[in-house]
């Protein structure tokens, strides 16, 4: 018996979400008195994850897995779950993991709960807490059966080190032919993504036009942050759709979310309110965002943002 995590890698290195999954799995394994197995595709340093309590790494090297394919990856994880006799399988909420999760649930005949935010509230019955109504509420979901699939919301559990010594085993699953293939990828490799970012700098219609985003990008750069925007900003084509956050855009679960010239409409807040700390900069002290934020500055973005950039640069040079 074991708990299995699918540990995602980027260019061979484990992503932060893999370490977070491992931390969660370790805590759950302690409660269930079992071990943690990770399955990973071509990790360059498979033992790096032992720091977070993984006992065994199933290393998969099949050449056909070089580009992500949800079906093939679901096959890999499904076979790893069987090989490790895992009753609980854990995934992150990355775009790739959310893509493969429902395929995997059917393959494993598992019960599946997504967007889980904490360790199970009880093990028998097996009940997890998950976000519903786009972060406007939580639901307590009971998963039945003897195999359970959980996807853990980003940043919900955090990183907890509990070093063990991991055994690494090369795992060779059989992968069927696919009738679907990737023909191109368009991805800025030098930019922090909203999904991975610890800090997100987001701007809205208050910025008046796309030509004014220079200072937003600079602020993001100083903070090592990803940039995001409100829905009308992407609808008007000022920024790409990939930056649209909120109920109908991407969710944001960053440590710090800075909202500049965004009014704080309910649909916007729904998508970003699982971020830990929210800062709002807005000319209008009545803007609804001030009711949802932790820190607020009433002021003109065109004055506040450049000043903040200068002060942050000084701060960074003194604190690094």
């Amino acid at each position: 018996m074991s708990i299995l995590i699918y540990a995602e890698t980027q260019n061979g290195s484990f992503s932060k979400s893999a370490f977070e999954l491992a931390s969660y799995a370790r805590a759950l394994a302690n409660e269930m008195d079992t071990s943690v197995t990770a399955v990973a595709v071509k990790p360059t340093d498979p033992k790096a994850i032992e720091l977070y309590g993984v006992n065994k790494v199933l290393q998969v090297n099949n050449p056909s897995l070089t580009t992500f394919n949800a079906k093939s990856y679901a096959e890999v994880i499904s076979q790893a779950a069987q090989a490790s006799n895992s009753s609980v399988v854990l995934l992150s909420t990355s775009a790739d993991s959310k893509f493969l999760a429902p395929l995997l649930a059917i393959k494993l005949k598992a019960s599946y709960a997504s967007n889980v935010v904490a360790l199970p509230m009880s093990l028998d019955p097996f009940v997890v807490k998950r976000t519903v109504f786009t972060n406007k509420a939580y639901g307590m979901t009971e998963l039945s059966g003897d195999r359970r699939l959980i996807s853990l919301s980003k940043n919900a559990f955090g990183l907890v080190e509990q070093a063990v010594s991991a055994e690494v085993e090369v795992f060779e699953p059989s992968i069927s032919e696919s009738t679907q293939s990737v023909t191109g990828v368009d991805k800025a490799s030098d930019k922090v993504t909203i999904a991975d970012a610890e800090v997100v700098v987001s701007a809205g219609r208050g910025l008046k036009g796309p030509e004014n985003w220079g200072m937003i990008e600079t602020l993001a750069e100083v903070l090592g942050a990803a940039t995001a925007c409100s829905k009308p900003v992407s609808d008007m084509g000022w920024r790409s759709h990939g930056e649209h956050v909120g109920q109908t855009g991407k969710p944001v679960a960053a440590n710090l979310y800075i909202a500049i010239g965004i009014s704080g409409a309910i649909q916007h807040l729904a998508g970003i309110n699982s971020s830990k700390v929210k800062v709002v900069i807005n000319t209008d002290p009545e803007a609804p965002f001030f009711k949802a934020a932790d820190y607020g500055v009433v002021g003109d973005a065109f004055e506040v943002v450049p000043a903040l950039i200068e002060k942050l640069k000084v701060f960074k040079s003194q604190n690094s």
Partner: protein, 248 residues
């Protein structure tokens, strides 16, 4: 091309979310229901296939009679026929099982669903459906074209997009990008009149096992008070973010 669009009937995005019966059930009192936004993008793309490439477009919802106005709205937007599977589903798996039954009976080429519904945010129905019927699957689909049976799809990935070549039968989990916000259609009077004549077939649900049940809800704890910082004292903001919030 034979298309099925899966429509989820969800509370309007501005709805206040409340629960009743000791927090065991969503309180629909005073809530307006709409076509799930992700599904509406898909439905609108389906209309394009109908008008430009002579596709037929059916729509389906798994739900009790209260979802029918949402299906009628989809018919008014231009779908040809609607199915309602008569049941109150407990989770996404149950929905996917019901959809799979109809999908197999009707043998659709393309099934368009939304990447998630904004009520329970499961994000599992389209993928489960694809796997149950052995179809290809593209999630977070932001572009879809079909030319001489060559299907090209784009999928949003973290930090960019991916272009896929795929084949029928195909299920997609759609979202904005499939069409733009400005392409969305409000049903006109003629559409609404015509929708009344269009077939809305009620199907009996099949028996499925229950995988998950959610019968307790909770609202987030109320937020603490905001700390205001003067715009001329931004050093204070940096200090707070560093020492108090510990996020920079």
């Amino acid at each position: 091309m034979k298309i099925l669009v899966c429509i989820s009937h969800v509370p309007d995005t501005t709805s206040k979310i409340n629960f009743k019966d000791n927090d065991t059930q969503f309180d629909t009192n005073g809530v307006q229901f709409i076509i799930n936004p992700n599904d509406e993008f898909g439905l609108t793309r389906a209309m394009w296939f109908k008008e430009q490439q002579s596709a037929t477009v059916d729509v389906i919802t798994v739900g009790d009679v209260s979802v029918e106005p949402t299906l009628r709205k989809a018919l008014a937007i231009g779908a040809d026929k609607a199915f309602r599977v008569d049941m109150n589903p407990k989770d996404g798996f149950e929905v996917a099982k019901q959809l799979a039954t109809i999908a197999q009976e009707e043998a659709y080429d393309l099934i368009i669903a939304g990447r998630e519904s904004i009520d329970y945010n499961g994000g599992m129905v389209p993928g489960m459906l694809a796997e149950l019927i052995g179809a290809n699957f593209v999630n977070n689909c932001i572009k879809l074209t079909v030319e001489d049976n060559q299907i090209s799809a784009e999928r949003e990935i973290d930090g960019g997009k991916e272009i896929l070549s795929t084949s029928f039968p195909l299920v997609i989990g759609g979202q904005k990008g499939l069409v733009e916000e400005s392409d969305l259609r409000i049903p006109n009077m003629r559409g609404i009149m015509m929708a009344r004549q269009k077939p809305l077939e009620v199907k009996e649900a099949i028996q499925t096992e229950v995988k998950t049940t959610t019968n307790k809800f909770e609202k987030p704890a109320p937020k603490g008070a905001i700390t205001m910082v003067d715009k001329d004292n931004l050093d204070e903001l940096i200090k707070l973010l560093h020492n108090e919030a510990k996020v920079i």
